[in-house]
Symmetry: C3
Subunit: 247 residues, 3 copies
């Protein structure tokens, strides 16, 4: 059984990031925290999230097993988050024996049946060898994806020398974001890189991340992109994989 307490803001960010991909998820819970690996129904994107116990204000694991799995419907957690004010602490307990999750916020208690975790597959995280990477603030990427909307279904990422570019071309319109110099936190480019990705997946993820997050994009031409970032003051590590569209 797990008993824990988390800031509303942290729970909200975690749930928002995961739910860009999928609603019913399996968490593997241990003394060290919670781990999630999930793939979207179309198998276009995958997320690996490591929620360390430090992401919680209190975290108490009590089981004879080294870990246990629980299944959750994220839409229900979103409904609970809406009951909280910013700054509220959310208490939660999850017990695979009773099959119940209980959330409480002040004088309010919400309990629900857990989803059967045995029916939720754990995807195998791919081992990718990506030669190049760039780290930028999520805020810039958010501007880029907003500018690309309604122009095309695809977004291109280019790395060239010390420049990073997001671009999108339609029949009559084009949009691009170009970053260089101080706008880039770090960059390592093995050679000119260009890959094309589905805009909706990329855009939904980028919008779910807090604007001040440092996001690292690891790339190789015509290969998946791996986005790495942390949430909740570094206590949550995320790797997000997105398959390319070949031009």
């Amino acid at each position: 059984m797990l008993s824990a307490e988390i800031k509303t803001e942290n729970l909200k960010t975690i749930v928002n990031v995961i739910s860009t991909l999928i609603d019913e998820v399996k968490f593997t819970i241990s003394r060290e925290g919670m781990v999630l690996k999930a793939v979207d129904p179309a198998h276009v994107a995958m997320i690996e999230m490591d929620i360390g116990s430090g992401a919680f204000d209190k975290y108490s694991y009590d089981s004879e097993e080294d870990f246990f799995d629980i299944g959750m419907d994220l839409e229900k957690i979103k409904a609970i988050i809406k009951l909280a004010s910013l700054g509220d602490a959310i208490k939660l307990s999850m017990d695979p024996k009773t099959g119940k999750a209980v959330f409480s916020i002040g004088t309010i208690t919400r309990s629900m049946n857990l989803v059967d975790a045995s029916g939720i597959m754990t995807p195998k995280v791919p081992n990718l060898n990506l030669s190049s990477n760039v780290t930028v603030m999520a805020e810039y990427l958010q501007k880029g994806v907003r500018a690309a909307e309604s122009i095309s279904d695809h977004i291109a990422i280019d790395l060239n020398g010390n420049e990073f570019r997001l671009s999108c071309s339609g029949d009559t319109d084009d949009a691009r974001l170009e970053l260089s110099g101080d706008e880039i936190l770090s960059i390592e480019v093995a050679g000119p890189i260009r890959s094309l990705f589905p805009l909706d997946y990329f855009s939904n993820l980028i919008k779910a991340v807090p604007a001040s997050t440092e996001v690292t994009l690891e790339l190789e031409t015509n290969n998946p992109v791996r986005l790495r970032f942390t949430l909740a003051d570094g206590n949550v590590s995320v790797a997000y994989f997105l398959a390319p569209r070949i031009e």
Copy 2:
């Protein structure tokens, strides 16, 4: 004829509370103020509201009769309230002889035909003998009804010793609000009380009341609940009756 002036905020609160039940209403107007008794079309809930002349900034009654009735469409008053800014005063005059109501806000004047009051029935307010009661801030009740939404159509109210509980049970989910100690302003319980009410009626009323309102719930197992509260600095007294659903 009545000529009066009222703060936008007070008119808004009064109209919001009544319109959880019904749109076309009859007010009985006298030198002392306005009185309303109304039942919803399904006869599940009833409201009795006494709007003292002190709820108005100015109140001038001019008629040879001791009182007169006027019929109003609350949706039209809501539209007028939307034209006002918070802090604006709304002037109003109602004249059963001309059959007109006139509202003015600054340089704007809206006039409308009154609704025929003779076609609106005055319900008989039931004489209930309810053994137990509890007084709490509306703010708590609002949290409770929000947590109950989408779980079930019913909400249970329990009084037991010094504890007050709102609860709601669905097939897989439960929600409850539990108050005790300082969270309760006053409580008198004749014995364990439990009644079930339709969530939508209860929820709509509770949300229409300002959060800082002290609400008294008078209860008896499987009997109607009577909610009592005041609005507009105590100048408006409300009694709201809601029929139980028998378990």
Copy 3:
């Protein structure tokens, strides 16, 4: 070719005013600024707008011709404005030779094909002899048109002595705005004036104008109204003509 820079707020106001009438517009661009003449598809209203180069923070005209025409889809400019924060500067360049318009905001660039300007007619602005006029703040007019909504399709404008009145009559409801004294900035009335106009056109224009704009209405009974006002600190002059509905 034109290269210019404009405050987001100024571009937004200009586009909002024009797009109450029409989406695809032709601007005639010269060293002095941009000029637009447009009529709505139903030929009920017409706008003449003179955007002086002073409305821009930078304005650089580079062409061997004295002027050139470009066609724009205002919906696309609205989408670009949404990408900017208040206080952002928007850079723009328009080149009839390449047929491209390019907008940039910080690190974001959006380019698009111009619309073929030769297909957009330039209406002939009528020469009206209107005897009377009144100047008031847009804020008052905005209150008047909001009060008139859902009462009737028409709004009447009356000038009489030193009084200005907007009014609207329905089957059971009436609304009016009456201004006099300090509420009127200036007034010249040749005799009692009354004209009726379509509420939707009048209302949409009035709502698109910043509340603090001084609007002059030039009137003659049963003639079109000409509204005159300036935007962007006086650097944009607008004349808007609206046909009357004969009672």
